[in-house]
């Protein structure tokens, strides 16, 4: 009886893990806001009612941008992790609180996450497109990367010839945002063997 070592999944053995690059979250501040007065009282807030009906607040650390609407809803983008996104949203809310509004922090939800990684080998996008036509969309005239819409888990991957992969929930019909980072890891596990098949020998 010779002992057989269990086969490890490809990605684990290669030690590549997708990194989170951006987390987008929304929170309800629970009160109506006067955007004009807010914009005038802080130096990191800009407000251009003609262009955008929301005030834009930028925080230095964690480096994030928040869109604040007069209804009291706020969208926070730019954070590198879920915890940082929550912290940033709280800081934004704190600024508003200091400006004199009775803010609350209701229904904080993560809407989408963007991750990326590098598999470190070139990928033949044309062949991948040929075999996975059902899931992929590759138009070099329009975009240099191949857009792969994975069904399980429901996530969109942008695959480039240089071996870089971007994971995101596109937010379009049928592909809502990525709510948890485990989804990204799962997607990577699924796509890695496929990519290896189209590796440059």
């Amino acid at each position: 009886m010779t002992p057989i070592t269990p086969a490890t999944p490809a990605s684990k053995s290669s030690e590549i893990v997708p990194q989170l690059k951006n987390v987008i979250s929304v929170v309800n501040l629970g009160c109506k806001l006067k955007l004009m007065s807010i914009a005038l009282k802080a130096w990191n807030i800009e407000y251009n009612p003609k262009r955008c009906p929301a005030a834009i607040m930028r925080l230095r650390e964690p480096r994030t941008t928040a869109l604040i609407f007069s209804s009291g809803k706020m969208v926070c983008t730019g954070a590198k992790s879920e915890q940082l996104s929550r912290l940033a949203a709280r800081k934004h809310a704190r600024v508003l609180e200091k400006l004199g509004f009775p803010v609350k922090f209701l229904n904080f939800t993560i809407q989408n996450m963007v991750g990326s990684c590098d598999v470190k080998f070139p990928i033949r996008l044309e062949s991948l497109f040929l075999t996975h036509q059902k899931f992929s969309s590759y138009e070099p005239e329009l975009f240099p990367g191949l857009i792969y819409r994975m069904v399980k888990p429901r996530i969109v991957l942008l695959i480039f010839a240089s071996g870089k992969i971007v994971f995101t929930g596109a937010g379009s019909k049928g592909f809502e945002g990525v709510k948890e980072r485990a989804v990204i890891y799962e997607a990577f596990e699924n796509i890695y063997p496929i990519l290896e098949a189209f590796r440059k020998k």
């Binding site: 005038l40 802080a42 925080l59 879920e82 600024v95 200091k98 005239e141 010839a161 071996g163």
Partner: protein
Amino acid sequence: MSSRVCRTCGGSDIDVDQARGSAVCTGCGSVLEDNIIVSEVQFVEGSGGVSSAVGQFVSADGPAKAPLIGSGFHTSVGKESRAQTLQGGKRQIQQLGSQLQLNQHCLDTAFNFFKMVVSKHLTRGRKTEHVIAACLYLVCRTEGTPHMLLDLSDLLQVNVYILGKTFLLLARELCINAPAIDPCLYIPRFAHMLEFGGKTHEVSMTALRLVQRMKRDWMHTGRRPSGLCGAALLVAARMHKFRRTVKDVISVVKVCQTTLRKRLTEFEDTPTSQLTIDEFMRVDLEQECDPPSFIAAQHKAKMQQLEQQLAQKLDDVEGQISCYKDEIETELERSRPKLSGIYAAYAKEIGRDGRRPPVATATKTVNISVSFSEPEDAKALPATPDLEPPEAEDDELRAAAQQLTQDFLCQVIQEEEGRGEAGDDSGREEGEGSQRQAAPLAAILGKLPAPVSLGLQQTFDASEASEEPGDEPMEGGDLDLDGIDDQEIDKYILNQEEVQVKTELWMKQNAEYLKEQQEKEERIKKEKEQGTYKEKPKKAKQKKEPILASTAGEAIEKMLEKKRISSKINYDVLRDLNSRGTGSGGGSSPSRPAPDPPDATTATRKRVARRRRKKASDVSRSLAATTSMIGKRVRHLISSTSKKRKTAVQEEPPTAPKRDATPEPTAEAPPEQEAEAGPALPAPPPGPEVGEEEEEEEVEEECVSALQLVGDYGCEEEEVF
């Protein structure tokens, strides 16, 4: 035409003359009809003696409209909106397609695509122009013609990415997988446009070979095919001694100069570029290069690594230098003469400011030893007791001491500055830690880039961390101030003066917007006074509720209720018909009465009816059956209503236990309502099961004449009552 009886003489011998269009009685000679409408082909002589048939062409796929009768109302009358859309689309396709020199087959295919698109309601919210262009491009791709999306966008003067978006969406919705573009397709077209005369073919061949080589060298993945073609053609032209400049090529190929130069540079980097022309035509190198983007990424990674290494080395060197500095300073301290009086005070100050290791109590003592001991002897000095009383000093010594201290002061000041700089450098090298203020630790940790080797660790951390949000107490809506530094927040808020300044600036910038708002308000006020103010109702988003149903049939019924499939069906009546139970067989409009079936098939029908009774009045399935069997239900209905009658009359006793109670009482009520049902499609009895359908099919095979249909309806009415 049935033979008619003459009005005057009663004779039935009537002569109809098609040519004259009259019907005359041969008995008495009275003209019965004049100007009969005939359906014969007539010929008309046109100019030049050419006779042509009188009439219009009605196309097969056009609208089934009646030809213009009488005064001929134009277009809109009698045409459906759908037909209009299709006609307009066809016209545009022909127009655009002819500009692209597409053949008729392609245009027909494009029109088919367009029809599919319209039937899937994908034209809503999109310009027809864009949709047409996308359909045409779809055809180009499936047929493999050398047309680029750029050509279409040129013709329409629309941004190519907008067209691309529409094209991608249509391709996805129609499930048409267009094969990837091959740059080789474009070579002949561009070569032709570059006018190489007789040698066009040769140049094309060379360019093709070049493109194939580029493909093998991974240069074409993710790139616009036109750019590659441009580069290949340029090189091929030069190889065949044609002088085509970059400008000529880019005007044909539609890429910009930078792109072309970049492609040429990339090709230069491949080993193939080193071959001579002859070698290239004969030999094929085995080695394949990496795609340029991959090479660039590797290069970048290397640079980063190098930088990191350099930074590390600098740190090390810094460390060494500071060590040396310290040693030198200690040596100097020891070797430097002891000061007295004012100088001692100065030395004290230096001792306080500088971060040098304080030279213990030596500074306090005023002991200017004559021997400016050299560094070697410096070690011996501290040992000597420093608490000697100051001795008489010579002026010379004093002056020398002064000089020394001044030098020393300068040196120390320099050292301090240097130290300050070094501190900044190290700070910068560490990362973004340039802020000397106390920042929360978590924030600093968050900034450091996580090396890949710690990836797994990170996953574990992440998984642990992800549990935390669950553990956090559900905030009752209050803002949790944990981890937020108030000072930091306060820095963002402006004080009074700053607010004023910003207000001024903002008002100036947004003056127009404020004016518009004011005008709008005034307008609203006026309208309110006049009473003509129409407030724009804000569309409350109708949230699509998910359909909850226990069975598939129920779900279909609910779906039908919500989603109206056709405008020709009166859904309320449809529903009523079925809910009244299948025993009634879903009676119908007066136009579809039940026939009197021949007795031969009674037995089969009895069987079927019995079965049907078992499943009768299953409301949830009735509508489902409706949808699935709407097509062929006419005859079925006819037979079913008869069955119902038969069974009601004959089968009552035996099938009583099997029958449901509901059909019976309702069977009498319906007919009145049925008569007034209106234009409702007949609802068949339930039973979408295959077995039943097979039997029903058998039943349907019998043909029922119209007379029977008409005649029987009267019978039905009588009998039911």
